[in-house]
């Protein structure tokens, strides 16, 4: 039993390598298809395979990547470089492969549209399959929204989602996979930073409470949370330093130090904003913040890559690879606190109420 736990700790430590982060490539064929089609690329299995190959094999990418989250389809696809399945290719490059199991979203009755994710049934069996395919971790995302007027996220919404995340985590560990738990509070809304801090502490406290209650091995689990930000349409302005402090404050109030790394999702932030904020967080880190704080980005890194294909004939693999690695270098610098932002990247510019944007 202790060998199994030691293995989980080893994988979690690899994922949390300072200066490296996660490339999240787990969009299902439907979702990635939408992104392809928006720029005129046909959604075929080969295109999906070739595109992911670039994300895994671009020269220099593995300097900045500790792990990759894959869609189940990708687990069984092979590299054209050497005919090996992608999990093996990734591991050989020092990038830990993991998977996002299929989940279905379900509306919670009476909760104004708040949801819960379904997928615990047969998860153990699927995890065993993923492990056999070469995965070392899994990821489960529970989306939540702040809607102060409607009392969301309500206690029920939070408890239901966080309890399921804890159960998922336990099931993963029982099958030898490190669970990445992803409570994702959306950027959407007009709430201020103080409200965001309060709600994030409430949600994350419940998550870690449920994880401890369920006996999840904390040292072998990883957090992938949203960055703490004011709502996208919040009229009040905040500097990137204020945002960084809010992020650290939330973690200090509830994130167990037994967990060694948190890799933020981008959640609609541009690469520039996400990097500026991650960098500010790492520049401010002190004795109270012993965790590795890094990235697990999909849209922030990948949306610019799709733009390279617009008006062109098919996937521009070489250009994609070059831009991708350049972006990862920025993300890595932010994870080390050595990035330099341009202008006011990372600040939240509130459009202001009657009296302007500053509080």
């Amino acid at each position: 039993a202790s060998l199994k736990l030691a293995h989980l700790v080893t994988i979690a430590a690899m994922i949390g390598t300072p200066g490296k982060g996660i490339t999240a490539c787990d969009e299902g064929p439907g979702t990635i298809g939408d992104r392809f089609e928006a720029v005129g690329v046909v959604n075929t299995e080969e295109n999906r395979r070739a595109y992911r190959q670039v994300l895994f094999e671009s020269e220099g990418a593995n300097e900045f990547l500790s792990a990759a989250i894959l869609d189940p389809e990708t687990l069984y696809q092979k590299s054209s470089s050497n005919g090996e399945a992608f999990p093996k290719v990734l591991m050989a490059r020092g990038i830990v492969p993991g998977v996002k199991p299929h989940l279905k979203i379900f509306a919670l009755p009476g909760q104004n549209g708040a949801t819960v994710m379904q997928g615990l049934d047969s998860l153990a069996v699927r995890c065993a399959e993923y492990k056999a395919a070469g995965c070392e971790f899994a990821k489960w995302r529970s989306p939540l929204e702040i809607d102060v007027a409607n009392g969301q996220p309500s206690d029920l919404t939070i408890e239901t989602n966080m309890r399921d995340l804890a159960r998922y985590a336990l099931i993963c560990q029982s099958q030898g996979l490190v669970p990445i738990v992803e409570p994702d509070i959306a950027l959407k809304g007009t709430h201020d930073l103080e409200t965001a801090v309060r709600v994030n502490v409430k949600v994350q406290s419940e998550l870690f409470h449920q994880m401890n209650l369920h006996g999840v091995y904390m040292e072998g689990a990883v957090l992938k949370s949203n960055m703490v930000n004011p709502g996208k349409d919040c009229p009040v302005s905040y500097t990137v330093e204020e945002i960084a402090e809010a992020n650290l404050q939330v973690f200090r109030r509830c994130f167990p130090t037994a967990m060694t790394t948190a890799n933020f999702l981008s959640g609609g932030q541009s690469l520039e904003d996400a990097s500026a904020r991650l960098d500010a967080i790492n520049k401010r880190k002190g004795r109270k913040d012993p965790w590795n704080l890094s990235f697990s980005w999909s849209a922030a890194v990948q949306m610019p890559l799709f733009q390279l294909c617009k008006g062109k004939d098919g996937l521009q693999l070489e250009a994609i690879g070059a831009l991708y690695v350049a972006e990862l270098a920025i993300a890595s610098a932010a994870a080390l606190g050595t990035h330099t932002r341009k202008g006011t990247e990372g600040d939240h510019k509130g459009r202001g109420g009657l009296f302007g944007g500053k509080k």
Partner: protein, 297 residues
């Protein structure tokens, strides 16, 4: 045991030369808060002059939980009138308070009953909120007794459940974590356990449990000594601070009663001619524990 002998003991302790080098605060009983030295100097004034914070125990002891008598479970009384008492204590010079909840590992090591957990953690949280409202830093003390023959794994499991319930309750009550102190038990084997865990294991599992449950915002974790001997209490604390492979976000130190005073009391025996020797014994213990809190022994 008379008021004057209690006064004499406390005067002995507070006038110990060098005491202030290792003691940042003293938890007093209400009687002591209002007592003076033989020369008339209030104890509170003496402590403050040495930069030692006066604190006050505010709970009124344990009471049986109706329906849980067969399990021997208790809750702690003292919330009624606490607000008014806090105001009085603050006025007298107290700047922090302490409340002790007592729990057990339960039948077959299954932990406290849900009722016991709820009552004790709610009481601790309410106490803490009331204190902060009245300018007193609350020391939150959920003590899990070592009574029993359980092994250290049971202690770890129960301590985990209790601590994370404590913090859940504190969060719900809106307690400012940055303005409180935790006083927990260490994770140890039961007192009648046949295969007792060694000191290094006690240190390792205690820190592991705290890293899983105590948010970094809490500035300090100051252990109770429970039934440990003076040497055990010091050695465990030292190993925690020495052996920790990762930097802890809170200080790990001591809030010892018996483990600081056992030798002192024996040496003193109530006789004024023994005061100097007793004071030397106190300083020796305080100094050792101070070094242990830095892992320097």
């Amino acid at each position: 045991n008379s008021e004057s002998s209690r006064q004499a003991l406390r005067e002995l302790l507070f006038t110990t030369p060098g005491f202030e080098k290792r003691c940042a605060g003293v938890i007093l009983y209400e009687e002591t808060l209002f007592q003076t030295c033989v020369d008339g100097t209030p104890f509170v004034e003496l402590l403050v002059s040495k930069n030692i914070l006066p604190g006050i125990k505010v709970d009124k002891g344990v009471v049986a939980i109706p329906g849980c008598e067969d399990r021997g479970e208790t809750t702690t009384a003292g919330l009624d009138g606490l607000e008014e008492r806090c105001a009085t204590y603050y006025q007298k010079g107290a700047r922090f308070a302490k409340w002790r909840g007592v729990l057990t590992v339960g039948k077959n090591g299954k932990g406290p009953s849900e009722r016991c957990l709820a009552l004790n953690c709610d009481a601790l949280a309410n106490y803490a909120a009331i204190c902060q409202k009245n300018g007193l830093v609350p020391i939150v003390e959920p003590e899990i007794l070592t009574d029993g023959d359980h092994d250290i794994a049971v202690s770890q499991a129960v301590t985990t459940v209790v601590l994370q319930r404590v913090f859940e309750s504190l969060n719900k009550a809106g307690v400012l974590l940055e303005g409180m102190v935790l006083k927990p038990n260490m994770v140890t084997s039961g007192v009648d356990c046949l295969k007792k865990a060694d000191a290094a294991t006690v240190a390792k599992l205690t820190v592991e449990t705290l890293r899983r449950t105590v948010p970094p915002s809490v500035p300090g974790i100051l252990f109770l000594s429970g039934g440990q001997t003076e040497d055990e209490a010091t050695s465990h604390l030292n190993l925690m601070n020495k052996n920790s492979p990762l930097t802890n976000p809170w200080t790990l130190s001591f809030s010892y009663g018996r483990a600081l005073q056992a030798t002192v009391l024996k040496t003193w025996g109530g006789k004024s001619e023994n005061v100097q020797a007793a004071q030397a014994a106190l300083f020796e213990r305080a100094d050792a524990n101070g070094k242990a809190s830095l892992g320097e022994l």
